[in-house]
Subunit: 280 residues, 2 copies
């Protein structure tokens, strides 16, 4: 799934930063050992998209012949912290083209998230594509603003911003200067910092890697995810991704956030919806 | 939550058809007994929205003070059939404003769906509403076509159509005559057949009550749901609901389907996204 020009995991260990950070190993008792890297901290915890990718790495080993997450539903119960973690997996059904598993990500026996996943082999999907969604229009990268150029205090609070090239249209970063757009939608270019090519695990992470769209409404603050439903719909082509996120319904203290990821060929390769708590 | 003019469940048993059909009772061992009514069959199984409402009824008894589903994620593993069923519930976390539970709907020990739910008390949600979504424009009811007027052979295959008043705009039923619209979006008016007023359980059902939007693309056939993520965002007002559904990404043998439910005051009260298998 990685491009031939980019080294993937080798027998001496994964070479890209992302591969090292999402790596899990069987614990010999049906579960998987992980180590949550401090590089993915943002605000009060470890990023939920990164947790999805860690879970996805474990799930990739759980059911023979079904290495990919097609659909992952996570309900979060406590904030993760950097350090050791364990992924427990129960195979509920394995038959036909898909398998369904239950899972829990824990730290020191404390559950962080409970999940359900439908697994498949994305190589086996039909070539039939009738997508009607139009690829978002994003300005050329050289006209965009890099999240990694944020002030040092922002990068210190959100080291996750240094894991990728994340480039926003100039018109969508006004919130950082006290002039939010007022429209709960934003997006931009994405590529891992060491140019590691996208694959389904990267997509799981990218589906929850942007700042909350509530920033665009002037609500700057942590928006804790209650539940996150991620669909990986195709193996992405190598190259830059475009990720866009929007909300239609901010009400009652919660908002939904829909995310789409498009690959370099202009194909919609992943979608997610989350329910999050509204920043105060 | 029911209107004063419509009788709700009483001590002698639920009086509305819907209340009777979704009713569950504790089994004394931490689970709940249900009976899946044949009236909700559609195509090859029992409707997934109805199953969500049955599950929602059981969950309403599971965690004191948190009677409502805020977010429900279900992954389906086998087709349900009319008859006895059991809902097993494990409380994973109960704290603050929400609780997270795991659940399984089984029949004769055979799992039908595995779920995770975040529960809350919808009465306690803040009055803060900044929804930017615009209510869909649906023609007046007297200009619409009733699903219940479908030919007898259709009603026989889909008795579920007789559970409600489901009124479609004339321009969106061309698929039934071999002239699909070609746009993967449809919607209409909804009200339970006996005028039982909407509440959060009804919303859970309505979020998966329409024919697959793939009908609008001329693909008439069963579209099995793999996973369904439902958000109930507010207590609905009495009266007719409007339900709309669309898909942006039909590809690789699967499609996502987003559903919105609006109440009689024009408020967006529920949202869902599912991943379904594409009809052949």
């Amino acid at each position: 799934m990685t491009s031939p020009t980019v080294p993937g995991p080798t027998s001496t260990g994964p070479t890209s930063e992302f591969d090292r950070h999402v790596h899990t190993e069987p614990d010999g008792a049906g579960g998987y050992r992980a180590h949550l890297d401090p590089g993915w901290v943002v605000g009060g915890g470890v990023n939920g998209g990164y947790l999805s990718a860690v879970v996805g790495h474990a799930l990739g080993q759980a059911v023979p012949g079904k290495p990919h997450v097609l659909s992952l539903s996570s309900h979060f119960v406590s904030a993760s912290v950097p350090g050791p973690a364990a992924v427990r997996v129960d195979v509920h059904r394995d038959g036909g083209r898909t398998a369904v598993v239950g899972l829990t990500l824990e730290q020191d026996g404390v559950p962080r998230l409970h999940g359900l996943a439908t697994l498949a082999d994305l190589h086996e999907l039909s070539d039939d594509v009738e997508t009607t969604a139009q690829a978002p229009v994003v300005p050329p990268r050289e006209q965009c603003v890099a999240a990694g150029d944020a002030p040092p205090e922002v990068l210190a609070a959100a080291p996750m911003l240094q894991r990728s090239h994340l480039l926003f249209p100039p018109g969508e970063v006004g919130w950082a200067l006290g002039a939010p757009s007022g429209v709960a939608r934003h997006g931009g270019w994405f590529r891992l910092i060491d140019d590691r090519e996208p694959d389904p695990l990267v997509l799981l992470m990218v589906l929850d890697c942007l700042p909350p769209v509530t920033f665009q409404l002037g609500r700057i603050g942590w928006a804790p995810t209650l539940s996150l439903s991620s669909h990986v719909r195709a193996l992405p082509a190598p190259g830059w991704l475009v990720v866009v996120q929007e909300s239609r319904n901010l009400a009652g203290g919660y908002f939904e956030e829909d995310c789409e990821v498009w690959d370099s060929t202009g194909r919609l390769v992943a979608q997610a919806r989350q329910l999050a708590g509204q920043p105060r």
